[in-house]
Every structure is written in structure tokens, then in C-alpha cells.
Subunit: 146 residues, 2 copies
């Protein structure tokens, strides 16, 4: 059975796809409770900051360092340098990643800074991104500045 | 005489301070023209993503990779891991930094990835941050998750 927090991140990704957006979703979990969730909003809000992870941080709002340090970030796709840097700024100690087959983010940097990474290689996450990249290559390239 | 784009970043920082916010400002310059500008909006918008650099990226909106690669980011303070990661995601090749005395961000990481950094050590940038940190230490610590 899939981790329910990874499932919540996938639900966010699917919602983003249904809105015509990029299907990447994330949740931030503190002591077993989701305190922030979101999905990529590049298309919906025209905002280049709002990758899925960033939307989740934004929704969690202003939090003290003591909370971030007890959080786990769940995300459907390997986090890019922006999202990795945000996790490092806020010192989130653990990230659960849906997959890193279709895109490999700044995992080496995260590991070098002591962040614990768990990569699920979830088949639904992989197939969702594969289909999206095949359908909308120009939009995907914009999101990762290729 | 001060670089006019660094001056514009300082003007943004001063505007943020006047709004009761954190005095860090940034502009993004493409081919000699400011395409995005902003300041830290943690207090004003309650948004943990909106460091000065992030506000400038947000205001610049969706840009193709070809534009980012010709940009210079000007910022009054050494960029934290979030802002450094965002610059790396978008492959901005050069960053002009007002000062790195009161806070040293992820400059080593930026340099290791080939980003050109210029540190002005501007006295006004230094004194503005020194005064702010002395006046509002709790707010400053929240912004850098200490």
C-alpha cells in the first residue's frame, strides 16, 4: 500500500493536471499532519516560483524553524535546485520523492547537506510525468529552463 | 558612483523597510533593462517564499530559458539557498551582491556551478541590515530559519 502522504502529493499533481497545469504535487507533514499542500501553478497563476514543493511551503505559511526541523516534504518528482534550496533554507530534514526517473533534481546537493532522501520510484508518478512530457514538451522545458 | 541597478535593489529594500518588512531588495536585468524587481514580502504577504530575489523572479513572470541566460540578478544581500537554487534552476549566469558581511548565503554552491559573483560590500547595504538585525532579531531569524 502506498504511503498516504505520497498519495496526497499525487492527488495534488492530478488536480494540477485537471486544471491544465504541470502535474507535480507536494505536501509538508509535521508530526503526522499535513500543514501545507499544493501543486505546480506555473500555468494557473503565471508564477515561475510555484513548483509543487513551493506551493506547499507557501500554503504552510510562516513557520518557526522549530517546526520545519520536524517536517517531512513529500513530492511526486525529484526536487529541482529551487525546491531543494528552499528545503535547505528551512532545514527540512527528510524528503520523500515519488520518482527521479523522468527528472533528477539537486539530490546530490541535498544529500551533501545531510538531508535524508527516500525515493519511492512510484509507477504512477513515473507514468504521469512521462505522459505529460510527451504531451507538453515546451511547457515542461519552460518549467526547468531548458 | 554606485551601479544604478544595485541602487534600484537598495531602493526596493528601503521600500520594504518602510512597509514594516525585511529590508532586502533585488532586480533582474536583461540586456540593460530591469525585467523584474521586488523586495522581501514575508511580513507584507505572510509568504515564506518571497525573499527579495524571489519577488523579483515572480514579478518578471514566465520567461524562456533564453532570456534567463542573458540576465544579471542584483540583490542587496548574499543569496540564501532558496534564492541561490532559484537562480541555478533558471541558469542566471551572474549575480551582483550588495554585501555578504551580515549574512553569507550559498555562494560556494553558486560558484561551484559556474555562476559569476560580484560582491560590492556596499556600506549602505551593510548598515541597513545591521540596523534591521539589531532592531528585529526574531523576524530576521524566522526569515533564515534560525
Amino acid at each position: 500500500m502506498r504511503d498516504p502522504f505520497l498519495q496526497a502529493a499525487i492527488d495534488e499533481a492530478r488536480q494540477g493536471l485537471a486544471e491544465g497545469g504541470i502535474p507535480i504535487g507536494s505536501v509538508i507533514v509535521h508530526q503526522g499532519r499535513i500543514i501545507g499542500r499544493g501543486h505546480n501553478m506555473r500555468v494557473q497563476k503565471g508564477d515561475p516560483l510555484l513548483h509543487g514543493e513551493m506551493s506547499a511551503f507557501q500554503q504552510a505559511g510562516r513557520q518557526p524553524a522549530s517546526v520545519y526541523r520536524e517536517c517531512v516534504l513529500y513530492t511526486t518528482l525529484s526536487p529541482c535546485p529551487m525546491c531543494s534550496g528552499t528545503s535547505l533554507l528551512y532545514k527540512v530534514p527528510k524528503i520523500v520523492i515519488g520518482e527521479n526517473v523522468t527528472f533528477l533534481g539537486a539530490e546530490d546537493w541535498l544529500k551533501s547537506q545531510g538531508v535524508k532522501l527516500v525515493v519511492a520510484q512510484d509507477e504512477e508518478c513515473i507514468s504521469m510525468m512521462r505522459q505529460f512530457i510527451a504531451d507538453r514538451p515546451e511547457l515542461w522545458n519552460e518549467d526547468i529552463a531548458v
